[in-house]
């Protein structure tokens, strides 16, 4: 097996809606492949087809070397799934949940017990092993949900938004855990996310998906280079006396590509051209705006998305903006400076 996943013109239509549109991707063995796109882009639909949960309308795919239609049983033996909704029973304990799925994968009793113990320890959940899942926090649930998918030591692991809705600490831990599985077991991982940091941090390669189509596919670094040469300024700026008039003026600046108002005093601005940075500052100053703080951001995958699709990804996922900022130590390096 050379390729973990190969898709050829994989397509899914729901009546008139083309949710996944002739997708061709090759995921290498041992790779972490990210599918990045806004809500409704077709990430989940693509994953579900690859997991044999959904029949494609057109095209084919091979997962772990097996055809997802003709050899769906074989495919199932080699994959693990962490889906958007957690696959766990609230009234069963962690151990009981793991036992059920272990049995469904025909894992021998001894092996199952050993693995259960080891995995629970890895995610620091031994203490809770005998409590019903219903009593857990979301972060705790997701830890168990992920190790459930790992019980059978799959060759290919699918993770659909694995950190969605989790607290920052769980998010960080789970991201580290994903990296670890990938390295230790050489598990090929395909994960979907609409968070730039996540794709940036974890993935060897990222496919950007928009309206069912793969619009770009490369390493995060190369993707960022696409727009790197274009003098794009990405600025995080705080103006205590921000007015609507100022906002309008900024939006009307030809060099400014987009303005997102984070809150009363906070703006995220992107601009193109050599003088982009000066334009932003001048426009604000000309309207007596006080600039309390400016942070220039390195181009992120988000900029790539904007660049390629011409649309703001953030506007569609505004609730997730904070996790972008709170990228923490793994986040993109930021260049901060105080303005006089």
């Amino acid at each position: 097996m050379v390729e973990a996943i190969v898709t050829r013109n994989l397509t899914k239509k729901f009546k008139d809606l083309v949710a996944v549109d002739h997708v061709n991707i090759d995921v290498k063995k041992g790779e972490i492949f990210g599918l990045l796109g806004p809500n409704g882009a077709g990430k989940t639909t693509l994953i579900r087809m690859l997991c044999t949960l959904l029949a494609p309308t057109e095209g084919t795919a091979k997962v772990a070397g097996y055809d997802i239609i003709k050899e769906d049983g074989k495919v199932r033996e080699h994959i693990g799934l962490v889906s958007e909704k957690m696959i766990m029973y609230d009234r069963l304990t962690a151990v009981e949940n793991l036992k059920l799925f272990g049995k469904l994968y025909n894992i021998p009793k001894d092996t199952l017990e050993k693995r259960t113990h080891k995995l629970l320890k890895l995610v620091h959940m031994e203490k809770w092993a005998k409590s019903q899942i219903g009593t857990y926090s979301t972060g705790m649930k997701q830890r168990i949900n992920i190790i459930r998918a790992l019980l059978s030591v799959p060759d290919v692991l699918f993770m659909d938004e694995p950190t969605l809705g989790l607290d920052p600490q769980s998010t960080t831990e789970i991201r580290e855990f994903i990296k670890r599985i990938n390295i230790e077991n050489e598990t090929s991982i395909i994960l979907t996310t609409h968070m730039m940091v996540e794709a940036d941090m974890l993935c060897d390669r990222v496919g950007i998906i928009d309206r069912g189509k793969i619009v770009a596919l490369d390493t995060p670094r190369s993707l960022k280079r696409i727009i790197g040469g274009e003098d794009v300024a990405s600025v995080d700026i705080e103006i205590p006396n921000l007015t609507n008039e100022m906002l309008e003026a900024l939006r009307n600046q030809p060099t400014i590509v987009s303005v997102v108002r984070e809150n009363e005093t906070h703006l995220l601005i992107r601009a193109k051209g050599e003088d982009a940075f000066d334009d932003i500052i001048d426009t604000i100053r000309a309207r007596n705006g006080k600039i309390a703080f400016v942070k220039s951001l390195e181009p992120s995958l988000e900029d790539v998305f904007l660049h390629i699709t011409g649309r703001e990804m953030r506007a569609e996922v505004s609730s997730k903006v904070k996790s972008f900022q709170g990228g923490g130590r793994h986040g993109p390096p930021a260049l901060s400076r105080r303005v006089r």
């Binding site: 889906s83 958007e84 059920l100």
Partner: protein, 392 residues
């Protein structure tokens, strides 16, 4: 994938479902309450003879003669002794009619003014029974009882007359007056009530409802919750999933069926004449004949709500057409055809034969064959549809 694997996987799925049910306190309470309600409801809403306990019946004696007065006294005595009705004095037909309308009386008896004179002149005397046709059940019962009582009183009078005139003793006189008499000899020991009639049907129905609502619920719920994906993506046969769910729901249905049986025996005095194991086997077979239907509806319905609605729509006619509450033979002919095309009809019929009549396997072979065929055909249709629907 071998049959052993399929069975083993399905047992684990059933284990999970039953463990989940066991820990769901609300569901456990409902599990026990549902058959209880069912039994109590059926036990007490349907009219039985005891419904006529102490019914108020108007008695108007328009006859002044001694025979009229004697008749009225006799009737009062008999009704008091039997405890079936309590006679109230009335002035006549119109008064009784008015008081039935007011809800004071259930019916009435009128002794016409020519009662004594007719009897004395050797003519038949008429006693009028006033019946309220707007309440056919009660009116029928009342008519029956009154007719019987009055006829009995007539017989006594005839015996007295005959033995006096012919100089024979009263038993000889009885043989002259009533040369024929009827003795009913039931094939069931004891005195089976309406409850013995309905109990098997209610058992069949409880089990059916348990599976028909339980199965779609169990599958659609997991589908909506996303946990079904966990089983669908595991390397197990699709049949294991269906089988596992079925085993769990069958167990649930059986527990409810047995609760019904227990209540019927302990509280309502129903006796089981047949083999208990055969009864159990029939219940399981009944369940299996509905599984296909349950899966079919789950596959076709988009979400849990639609599935439940479809189930209800199917279940109600079944409940009333399958001879659970009323004998099928009483229905109009075309309804009988419908009844005999429902699996519940056969399950009810077989259970009834085994429970009340003590029938053996041979006497219910038709029912067995129909139930098995029904189950297999529906399952054969449902499983492929289920597989396809899950991948849409």
């Amino acid at each position: 994938m071998g049959a052993g694997d399929t069975l083993r996987h399905s047992l684990w799925i059933a284990w999970k479902d039953l463990l989940d049910l066991w820990r769901n306190r609300m569901a456990m309470v409902m599990l026990i309450l549902m058959p209880l309600f069912m039994m109590v409801m059926v036990g007490y809403i349907f009219p039985t003879e005891s419904a006529l306990e102490n019914a108020d019946v108007g008695l108007a004696n328009e006859d002044d003669g001694p025979l009229g007065i004697a008749f009225a006294q006799n009737l009062t005595y008999v009704s008091e002794e039997s405890g079936l009705m309590s006679l109230k004095d009335s002035t006549g037909f119109d008064d009784i009619k008015q008081r039935i309308r007011d809800g004071e009386l259930a019916g009435g008896v009128v002794i016409p003014s020519n009662f004594s004179s007719n009897l004395e002149s050797g003519t038949q005397a008429v006693v009028e029974i006033v019946s309220d046709q707007s309440n056919p059940q009660i009116s029928l019962l009342l008519q029956g009882i009154l007719t019987k009582v009055i006829e009995q009183m007539g017989t006594w009078r005839a015996i007295a007359n005959v033995s006096f005139q012919l100089g024979v003793n009263s038993s000889e006189a009885l043989a002259i007056v009533k040369p024929y008499t009827v003795e009913t000899r039931g094939i069931v020991p004891g005195n089976p009530s309406y409850f013995d009639f309905v109990a098997p049907g209610i058992m069949a129905m409880t089990v059916m409802m348990s599976v028909m609502t339980g199965l779609p619920h169990a599958i659609s719920y997991e589908k909506e919750f996303g946990t079904l994906d966990g089983m669908m993506v595991a390397p197990i046969g699709r049949l294991s999933i269906i089988l596992g769910k079925t085993i769990a729901q069958t167990s649930r249905g059986l527990i409810q069926g047995l609760i019904v049986l227990g209540l019927a025996v302990l509280i309502f005095g129903v006796t089981i004449q047949g083999n208990f194991l055969l009864l159990l086997f029939l219940l399981i077979l009944g369940v299996l004949s509905f599984v296909g239907l349950g899966i079919l509806i789950t596959s076709v319905a988009r979400d849990e709500q639609t599935a439940s609605m479809a189930m209800m729509t199917l279940m109600f006619p079944m409940m009333f057409l399958s001879g659970v509450f009323f004998p099928i033979q009483q229905m109009p002919v075309f309804m009988q055809y419908i009844a005999w095309s429902l699996p519940l009809t056969y399950a009810t019929s077989a259970l009834r034969k085994v429970m009340i009549l003590g029938a053996d396997v041979q006497s219910i072979s038709t029912e067995l064959i129909v139930l098995i065929t029904f189950g297999i055909v529906l399952l054969a249709v449902a499983v492929p549809i289920f597989k396809k629907a899950m991948k849409k």
